[in-house]
C-alpha cells in the first residue's frame, strides 16, 4: 500500500507532469485563464488518464506481447477513440461544459500527458493497480498545476505588467517560477 501512495504522490507533485516533465503544456497555456475552466479541464483529464491507464494495461498484457512494434499506433488509436467517447458523453450530459471546453476537448487526444502516461506506465512495468494510482496522481498533478496557473493569471490581469511581457512570455516566466517551487518537493523522495 505504501508503494501505491508513493507512486500517487510522486506523479502528483515530485514529478509533476506539467511542471517537471513538460507534458500537457497545450491546455496548461490554453485553458488556464479562468480557475473554473481549469478545474473542469483538470477533471476531464483525470478521467481520460484513468481510462487510458486501464486500456494501456489491457493492451500491454493481452495484445502487445505478440506485436511490440504496434505499441505507439495502438496506444494512439485507443486514446483517440476514448476521447471521442468522452466528448459524446459530455455533450449529452452537460452542453454548457462542452461549449466551455471547446476545442480543448478533442485536443486531449494530442495532449502529450495522455500518451506520455501510457508510455511511462509501459516503460516502468506498472501493473494494473500501480498504473491506476499513477494515472490518478498524474491527473491530480495536472489539475493542481492548471488551477495554480489560472489563479495566478487571474491576478496578473489586474496588475500592471510591462507591455513587452504581456501574453505568452509572462505565462512562461510564471510557469518557470512554479516549476522552481515544485522542485522543492524533490525532498519528499529522500524522506519517504
Amino acid at each position: 500500500m505504501g508503494d501505491l501512495i508513493w507512486i500517487l504522490l510522486s506523479a502528483m507533485v515530485v514529478n509533476n507532469f506539467t511542471l517537471a516533465l513538460f507534458l500537457g503544456l497545450c491546455p496548461f497555456m490554453g485553458v488556464s485563464a479562468r480557475v473554473e475552466t481549469a478545474l473542469r479541464m483538470g477533471a476531464a483529464n483525470v478521467f481520460v488518464l484513468t481510462v487510458t491507464s486501464l486500456s494501456a494495461w489491457f493492451l500491454n498484457t493481452f495484445v502487445l506481447p505478440y506485436a511490440p512494434y504496434l505499441r505507439l499506433i495502438s496506444f494512439i488509436v485507443v486514446i483517440a477513440s476514448l476521447v471521442q467517447i468522452v466528448e459524446i458523453v459530455i455533450k449529452k450530459v452537460s452542453p454548457a461544459l462542452f461549449r466551455q471546453l471547446g476545442i480543448f476537448l478533442p485536443l486531449i487526444t494530442t495532449n502529450c500527458a495522455i500518451l506520455g502516461l501510457a508510455i511511462f506506465q509501459t516503460n516502468r512495468g506498472y501493473g494494473l493497480l500501480e498504473g491506476l494510482f499513477f494515472a490518478v496522481g498524474a491527473g491530480l498533478g495536472l489539475t493542481l498545476a492548471l488551477v495554480l496557473m489560472a489563479s495566478i493569471r487571474e491576478n496578473t490581469e489586474l496588475s500592471s505588467v510591462p507591455e513587452l511581457a504581456k501574453g505568452m512570455a509572462l505565462v512562461l516566466i510564471i510557469a518557470g517560477s512554479l516549476s522552481l517551487a515544485f522542485m522543492g518537493f524533490a525532498g519528499l523522495l529522500s524522506s519517504s
Partner: protein, 218 residues
Amino acid sequence: MRQTTPQMDFLRGIWRENPVLIQMLGLCPALAVTNTVANSIAMGVATFFVLLGSSLLVSTFKRWVPHEVRISTYVLIIATFVTIADMLLEAVVPTVHKALGAFVGLIVVNCMILSRQEAFASKQPIGRSLLDAAGTGFGFILALLMMGAVREVLGNGTFLGISLFGPNFEPWVIMILPPGGFLTLGLWLLVLSWIQRRRAESAKVADWPAGVAQRRAA
C-alpha cells in the same frame, strides 16, 4: 486560401511563422529535451523526418481520405513514421535514444505536425506540401537549437560538450533543470517581442508611406 509562392511556403515556417516561437506549437519537446545541444539536434532531426514523411503521404492520399476520419488517418500516418524514427534512432544512436527517452514516442502528439497536415498538406499538391513541411521542420530545428544553445552554455558551460569558459565557470544548474526550460523560452519571447516592437517603431517613424505599402502587400 491566399495564393503563395513556393519560396514563401518554405521560408514562412522557418522564421515568420516559426512553429515554436510564434505559433507556440510543439512546446513539450521544445522544453523537455533541449537541455543539451546534441539532444536538441537529435529531436529536431527526428521530428523533421516524421513531418516530411507524413506530409508526403497525407498530400499523396488526400483524395482518398474521407473527410470524417481525416484526423484519425493523419494521426495513424504520423504514428507509423514515429515508430520508424524510434527504431532507427535505437539502432543507429542508442545513447541519444536513451537520453530522449519517452519523448521520441511523444512526437506522435506534437501538435505542430498535425497542424501542418490539417492546414496545408491535406489541401495542397505534393511538392508544395514537402516545401512547407521542410520549412516548418527547419524552423523547429532552429527553435530547438536556440533553446538548447542557451541552456547548455549557461547551465553547463559547454557547447556540444566542448568546454567554453574554462574550469572557473560556475554553471547555472537551474538552466538544465525543468524551470530553465520555461525561463529560457520566456526570455526568447521577450527578446523577439522587443525586436518586433523596435522594428515596428522605426518603420512608423522613418518611412511611413513605405510601411503602409508593405502592410497592404502582406
